[in-house]
Symmetry: C2
Subunit: 558 residues, 2 copies
Amino acid sequence: MAHKSDIEIARAANKQPIQEIGAKLAIPSESLLPYGHDKAKVSADFISSVADRPDGKLILVTAINPTPAGEGKTTTTVGLGDGLNRIGKKAAICIREASLGPCFGMKGGAAGGGYAQVVPMEDMNLHFTGDFHAITSAHNLLSAMIDNHIYWGNALDIDIRRVSWRRVMDMNDRALREIVCSLGGVANGFPREGGFDITVASEVMAILCLSNDLADLEKRLGDIIIGYRRDRSPVYCRDIKADGAMAVLLKDAMQPNLVQTLENNPAFVHGGPFANIAHGCNSVVATKTALKVADYVVTEAGFGADLGAEKFMNIKCRKAGISPDAVVIVATVRAMKMNGGVKKEDLGAEDVEAVQRGCANLGRHIENVKSFGVPAVVAINHFVTDTDAEVEAVKEYVASLGSEAILCKHWADGSAGITDLATRISEIAESGMAQFSTLYPDEMSLFEKIETIAKRIYRADEVLADKKIRDQLRQWEEAGFGHLPVCMAKTQYSFSTDPNLRGAPTGHSVPVREVRLSAGAGFIVVICGQIMTMPGLPRTPSAEAIRLNEEGHIEGLF
Amino acid sequence: MAHKSDIEIARAANKQPIQEIGAKLAIPSESLLPYGHDKAKVSADFISSVADRPDGKLILVTAINPTPAGEGKTTTTVGLGDGLNRIGKKAAICIREASLGPCFGMKGGAAGGGYAQVVPMEDMNLHFTGDFHAITSAHNLLSAMIDNHIYWGNALDIDIRRVSWRRVMDMNDRALREIVCSLGGVANGFPREGGFDITVASEVMAILCLSNDLADLEKRLGDIIIGYRRDRSPVYCRDIKADGAMAVLLKDAMQPNLVQTLENNPAFVHGGPFANIAHGCNSVVATKTALKVADYVVTEAGFGADLGAEKFMNIKCRKAGISPDAVVIVATVRAMKMNGGVKKEDLGAEDVEAVQRGCANLGRHIENVKSFGVPAVVAINHFVTDTDAEVEAVKEYVASLGSEAILCKHWADGSAGITDLATRISEIAESGMAQFSTLYPDEMSLFEKIETIAKRIYRADEVLADKKIRDQLRQWEEAGFGHLPVCMAKTQYSFSTDPNLRGAPTGHSVPVREVRLSAGAGFIVVICGQIMTMPGLPRTPSAEAIRLNEEGHIEGLF
């Protein structure tokens, strides 16, 4: 097969009208709200109408810690969905939407790669169905109403130094990270410090992705803490009376988007919260809807399994009342080599020993996933330079842990390259062997929850947190937030908080720098490192090369 | 007929699928990009394919100076479109899109009123098809790239005190009017003053509405002046290399939106620039497309005829190479009374003399419109409290000027109430009596253009402008911008620059406070008063009452 770029493959896709994709899941065309001919939202009415149906099987795709070599988690999610359809299962995939802003810095991301992609790729990297714009509007309406409340007399007595609700924009704009607003005199309000985050970092994004329906959404929006009074008592979004209007702005965005894979299988693409300060999964509504209309749902979680799968289990599954029937852990020979100490420029040469050394990282993820009571299979996402001996080394290692690693060639061959994995996953899922449990109960204290994750998932010896942080956690417990799960924000590159510590480190400490209460989303964010919530553009942003060519095609975006 | 609210009437509308609306204009369904079942964009390919067809007749709807009594310009535009269809003409209307932000301050606006409305009303007041979000993104991408350019070494030598390109948000947020950005240290750039306007005030909005096609759009985006160097030489968007990516972001937004009236007639709703610092008309693309597919196109211009019709003729028609075959000037008895000195609370009582006094305002608009060489008809938009004697007074006055005033009851009766006007307008349009010319030629000096409008339209004695402003105009002429039309920004409530001077004042002066070059849009903005480009929210914003009720309907938006 001649080597084509992702965008060339995507543009050559033989797309079916979105009504035909919906029909594969028995979604009638009047229940699809089309956006052009190849995208649609599934109507809220339809979603209510299928609420009582039994759920299909849920497959989570996660990965080893990411390396610059790339793992192909989304590619494998798409490929496995196509593979399950190929072996006769009615399967749908569920993935996240892309953020617009970063596409103008680095080149935009494909949804998948090679012959395992979701289309239309250009739309998905640009405005798509407008969900993120709706989130931006809802977030900033609350911001405007807060300053407006202060302007007109501040009846709620908000301390303008303690307004924690910032503004958002779906753009990489470092100039907006820290600003002073309300300058220019009496007519413009009371000057104060503020700033912007990128839209995917908005708590509204996390809320939209965790809400079960519009009523739940509005309730959670009302629960947002927007700032504090001088006596440190919280002020809620509900006090500002913004929750109703925000829900109205999010009404359409709450309906999941349906698109298709290159093989014309259904793909839900909905929501896209950060995987550090939020939980990093597509929306609960999309996953639950897919489970009602498909026999198999393949979904993914952000970053490696230490962050993504842990949050999927402890936050999303806990809140949504769902659980995976099987988990796929994606690994590549190249990433194993990097974990084994090989530099990126040397990845082309065979190095079985480096692969073996790097497998320690994979091994720990397998153990961790199993600790949730769910069966794990390793997908070796094949790369053309991989040698048989290297692939065999991974297989042997995984077998030694009592699990199985299956070579997958969906990138090059589409569904035909991944039928072995699809078959094995369907056997496992049908066997009913999963016995899911979360890692910690709601009742555990917040600090113990952090310790549990640090020790059982990261294999750290201890969690370091000063008195101020421990006091803060205790205060929240007293205020009734002790039952919330914790959302860890740390580097994705290591089990530890040191991005350079690859492999399977032990004996490290997890220092907690800060804790934040996302009362609307319903979790405590635990920050263990530098977290950037508003990226900047590089010296030569990709935007400089993006343009429409004479055929009206977009150039430079990919 | 029992009195129902606009929203009740709109919700009870018997909408047809948008494909059927398109079929009325022979737009095939594959050329319609649907957004839900009742909205669609007309594809760029289709628009190119009809470029060589002859144009239909163009009818401009304008009005007297607005008063708090309301005139019903959009209502009459919608009604006349329905009326023309009722008498057997293939007619479409072209109106502007609504801005999202202001809906959360005051209640949202209907598109029309009574039984002359465009639907779906809720969508049109919320995200609609995402055009304004795309404009916001394109605008702010340029903003981010400017600060990014400065951050990475400022090779273009931009004076950070002279960055004239601000940021935008589709929100009423006074706290963002004046800010200091790039605070927080080296990683966030060089602190400077900046601020946000509301999206409709963006030059990108004016550009989108004046561009003939995507190539023209990209060229105009490149022409935007983003700021100046210390030597006062301009820096262009093209120098920042943002024009291509901005055009990509606007690719879908450039395609006009098709919706329908309550009587299932086609309505193009596209673009919505300010009517003061911009030209206040729907997009050229929508109007020109409508002229290719309909025999009659009814469109409107912002504010009263002194601002809206003047700009429609001198800016939009000049640039687009179109011209109206007839002009409708909307007046109401109530507005005549207010122009005649009656207070709003006294409008219920008959007062023929006040009507007669107020007619002076109408009379001058009739004269002005005729000075463009186009025939004018007055539409008296009937209100239930109008007495026969009052209506007759308006008719007599208009007849005395050699024109005709026709009573219209479309608000109460839909198309059946406006067949007289529709019939008369079609006679005039078919007669070919229009002999359109702009008010001034391209070659006239910029200051003379201002004087021509001030003297011939506003009937002022003089234009007051200090040396700095005159020098600035001369500099722009030397730099090659002398051929541009001027875009007047003054109060809409009077022919003069004093909003309290109703009727038909003479002998006044027009003081020019400031001039701005919109090099991308292609006009010189002449500011003659306080112009607010970022509104604020009122003490009790309407957002506080907006919510979804138990049926999932939006409450409080209207």
